[in-house]
């Protein structure tokens, strides 16, 4: 049986560890740039949807009811903010990591719970089981109740944010709000990808500069 030794300093192709690292940096740089451009493309289409829905809302509610004059100019904190941390495991990397905290102004715990809950839902989508329906229904109803309790503060914050345009707003305006929320999520992904790309670029650039100095 063949035993592969991962600790050897050189590889089959005759590449040294240094070259492998350089190639890995270049690949990471190219990957992050590709992901950056793909995400920007996705952002463009999400924003286009948002602008269209906003225009539809303005058409149905009237230009005077969806206007910048109505914006809230009294002192208030942002309901959606960012958590900025150093990148995990690399304290000296100088690579910031951004996390979006949506609707976290009024009840931080509830909304954070809401974020966690929604991420768990995404990870473990509910399965539909045949048979044992009673048990399943009981379980889903209790889960729905719990998710409604979690969603309530978020819904309240969403309505509060739209209240500057009146109490009865067009469903298109609510749809536009959700589109811009989705755009924000993509934006945070783009910002993280941007810092990854710049970090990889710096490493590749440093190697190039080093080579120039050697010669």
């Amino acid at each position: 049986m063949e035993v592969v030794d991962h600790g050897t300093p050189s590889l089959e192709n005759g590449q040294t560890d240094k070259e492998v690292e350089e190639n890995a940096n270049v690949l990471q740089f190219m990957d992050s740039m590709d992901a950056y451009l793909t995400l920007i493309h996705s952002l463009s289409s999400t924003l286009r949807r948002g602008w269209l829905e906003l225009a539809s809302a303005r058409h149905s509610m009237g230009a005077s009811r969806v206007n910048t004059v109505l914006l809230d100019h009294t002192s208030h904190p942002a309901a959606t903010s960012l958590l900025v941390t150093q990148d995990e495991g690399k304290v000296d990397s100088g690579k910031p990591h951004f996390t979006l905290c949506k609707w976290a102004s009024s009840s931080d715990e509830n909304s954070l719970l809401g974020e966690k809950q929604s991420s768990q839902d995404k990870l473990h989508p509910q399965l539909r089981h045949r048979g044992s329906t009673e048990l399943c229904e009981e379980k889903t109803s209790s889960e729905n109740k719990a998710s409604r309790e979690v969603d309530d503060p978020v819904q309240k914050e969403r309505s509060k944010s739209l209240s500057m345009f009146g109490t009865l707003v067009s469903p298109k305006l609510r749809a536009a709000q959700l589109s811009f929320e989705a755009a924000l999520e993509t934006l945070v992904e783009i910002v993280n990808m941007r810092s990854e790309m710049l970090c990889a670029f710096d490493q590749v650039n440093m190697k190039l500069e080093g080579r120039k100095d050697e010669k």
């Binding site: 740089f29 740039m33 950056y36 451009l37 920007i40 952002l43 463009s44 924003l47 948002g50 602008w51 906003l54 225009a55 969806v66 910048t68 914006l71 809230d72 100019h73 009294t74 002192s75 208030h76 904190p77 942002a78 309901a79 959606t80 903010s81 960012l82 958590l83 900025v84 941390t85 150093q86 990397s93 100088g94 690579k95 910031p96 951004f98 102004s105 914050e157 969403r158 944010s161 739209l162 305006l173 536009a176 811009f180 929320e181 755009a183 924000l184 934006l187 783009i190 941007r194 810092s195 790309m197 710049l198 970090c199 670029f201 710096d202 650039n205 190039l208 080579r211 120039k212 010669k215």
Partner: protein
């Protein structure tokens, strides 16, 4: 370069915007709007009456404020103050050029991509091989 700068960590940093009316209104509906006690906002709505000086001043203000982590700027607005945007190289606040309603995104103008474009030029590759 960017990776030698200490990153200021924050629990609730703001997203600032310099963009056209609909983009700003949309993101305000998503909850990013902040007005402090001195009634200073974290956004600037750019229209036909906005001067380049106003945009410059706002950009400088947003990039020096410690409570701001990301500055979103419409690409056509960034083109008006390109010299400022291109010379900015701190990791936080991060500057992000976004498309606007009337001006689609052009990667050729993006300040981040122009910074890394150097690696794709024939000159840099040739000097690496020599």
């Amino acid at each position: 370069m960017a990776n030698r700068v200490q990153i200021p960590t924050s629990n609730s940093a703001l997203i600032a915007m310099i963009a056209d009316e609909d983009t700003v209104v949309g993101f305000l509906m998503a909850g990013v709007g902040n007005v402090d006690l001195r009634r200073k906002t974290n956004y600037l709505i750019v229209d036909s009456k906005t001067t380049v000086k106003q945009i410059e001043d706002t950009f400088k203000e947003f990039t020096t404020r410690e409570d701001i982590a990301v500055v979103l700027i419409s690409q056509y607005v960034a083109n008006m103050i390109r010299f400022l945007v291109d010379s900015y190289n701190k990791p936080v606040p991060a500057i992000l050029e976004i498309p606007s309603k009337d001006h689609p995104y052009d990667p050729a103008h993006d300040s981040v991509l122009s910074r890394v474009k150097y690696l794709f030029s024939a000159e840099s590759v040739a000097s690496g091989r020599r």
